[in-house]
């Protein structure tokens, strides 16, 4: 009996010794769970026209140069649309990692626009688990084209448009990110009584990352029925993101002419099936204004 116990004891100590050699020393520190936030669900803060769930990082200025060429169905005479171009120049700035502001000017309708975007929830795993990212966007724009009929009573407020949007999305994997954007567009002035001042729409967008520097994006905006005139259609865009160091090039096809929310959501006249498609691109160039290591 005594011997057995000694043998057991020796065996036990040998085992524990071997175990002691093999254990992770680091496991002695316990499991300090950290919250890990999902990053880079999209390569930039726009999918194509729609705002993506990503924000501009705090202290970073993002210069946007966007072009939409003419409709492809203009044929060879218009060089398939390339003879014409609409343009938007814009600056987005990340005040913090959560709060982005932006301004822009579009040649289409001689519009000025501005927006505020705030990330309310960030997708995370670990200590704090959050399945989705949620952001809210408020943008407004001013159409500065001369009045069509200067003889009637024209009000400055008629030039203004407002868009409110929730962006809820998730980076499902390194490859796949999806988001939904319920939207309200308010137009102070509409052309006919049948058209609504408040237009409700739902945007859906996604990206599939093919390689570290190349991704495919698509977005579709469904406008709830009986709100727009018969000439307006839902916006559909598909494109690729190409990333090179400090630039992101987005090349795409879209039936929307405007590059601001109220325009591409409520004023899209192109029809895909009839070749009413623009080729276009967004170029995003970021400049670091505030050094992050000091920022924090």
């Amino acid at each position: 009996m005594w011997r057995i116990q000694v043998v057991l004891l020796l065996a036990f100590s040998a085992v524990s010794d071997a175990y002691g050699q093999d254990t992770d020393l680091l496991s002695l520190l316990g499991n300090d769970d950290v919250t890990e936030y999902a990053t880079a669900a999209f390569k930039t803060n726009r999918v194509i026209n729609l705002h993506s769930l990503e924000s501009t990082a705090g202290g970073v200025l993002d210069f946007k140069i966007n072009h939409r060429f003419g409709f492809i169905n203009g044929g060879p005479y218009e060089f398939f649309g390339l003879d014409n171009a609409m343009m938007r120049l814009g600056f987005d700035y990340g005040i913090t990692d959560q709060l982005t502001v932006g301004i822009g000017r579009s040649s289409f309708q001689k519009s000025f626009d501005g927006f505020l975007k705030y990330k309310i929830l960030r997708q995370s795993t670990g200590k704090k688990v959050m399945p989705v990212t949620l952001a809210v966007l408020a943008s407004s724009s001013l159409n500065s084209v001369k009045w069509a009929d200067p003889t009637r009573d024209n009000y400055f407020s008629s030039r203004l448009f407002y868009t409110y949007q929730l962006i809820v999305g998730r980076k499902f994997s390194d490859r796949l990110s999806l988001q939904l954007s319920p939207t309200l567009v308010h137009r102070n002035l509409v052309a006919t009584r049948a058209e609504k001042n408040d237009v409700y729409a739902l945007g859906a967008a996604g990206r599939i990352k093919l390689t570290n520097r190349l991704a495919i994006n698509a977005e579709y905006i469904y406008v709830l029925p009986d709100q727009l005139g018969p000439d307006y259609h839902n916006s559909l865009s598909v494109g690729v993101d190409i990333e090179t160091g400090g630039h992101v090039f987005q090349l795409h096809f879209t039936n929307s002419t405007s590059m601001i929310e109220k325009g591409f959501i409520t004023e899209t006249v192109g029809q895909w099936e009839k070749g009413g498609i623009h080729f276009g691109f967004n170029v995003s160039r970021v400049f670091t204004i505030v050094d992050r290591t000091k920022h924090r």
Binding site: Q5, L29, D291
Partner: protein
């Protein structure tokens, strides 16, 4: 008799715990520097975890890749997304041994120059690394320092030719951590 053996057991366990004094840190500093012709890049991580077993000289080190802070947000994004693929390989770790642990008296004040050899795992690739290291002991606090260079391509991280002038082939790694005796942990 049984009680006697039990007592021996307890005694053995207690003594081995005393002999195997361990030191730890949870906020070790790991920095790296890339000095390429067109761009200098540095990043800092102040959340490294490490444990040293003074008895046998074993040591381990681990850092979360996402916890490296860069001056530019875009660099940080590219570092995680394009180069380190940190969602697939969230951690870099080191598991090794301090040379001649007998000479290293972590309970006596002094400065000890030694070598550390072990396996460094970055981006899922493990390579053997030996580096000179300095341990400075001051009133129970141990500061460990090491500096060495690694070749990026050794760890399977691909640098596209477009940015080859912006990212150095060889990256300098600088480590400084302040260890506390494990007992101090509470």
């Amino acid at each position: 008799m049984k009680k006697g053996i039990f007592a021996v057991c307890v005694f053995l366990m207690g003594s081995s715990a005393l002999l195997g004094q361990k030191y730890f840190t949870k906020d070790g500093k790991v920095s790296f520097y890339s000095d390429a012709p067109m761009e200098k890049i540095e990043a800092h991580n102040t959340k490294a975890a490490s444990v040293i077993d003074a008895e046998n000289g074993q040591m381990e080190f681990a850092v979360l890749i996402k916890a490296f802070q860069f001056e530019k947000a875009l660099m940080q994004e590219h570092f995680n997304e394009n180069y380190m693929e940190s969602s697939t390989y969230p951690k870099a770790s080191f598991k090794g041994k301090i040379e001649d642990p007998g000479k290293l008296k972590l309970n006596e004040n002094g400065t000890y120059e030694t070598n550390v050899t072990g396996d460094l795992t970055i981006h899922g690739v493990t390579k053997s690394v030996t580096t000179p290291a300095t341990f400075t002991v001051q009133d129970g606090q141990v500061v460990g320092k090491a500096m060495f260079t690694i070749l990026i391509e050794d760890y399977g991280v691909k640098i596209p030719s477009v940015v080859k002038d912006k990212i150095a082939k060889e990256v300098k790694i600088d480590i400084e951590s302040q260890y506390l005796p494990m007992d101090a942990k509470s």
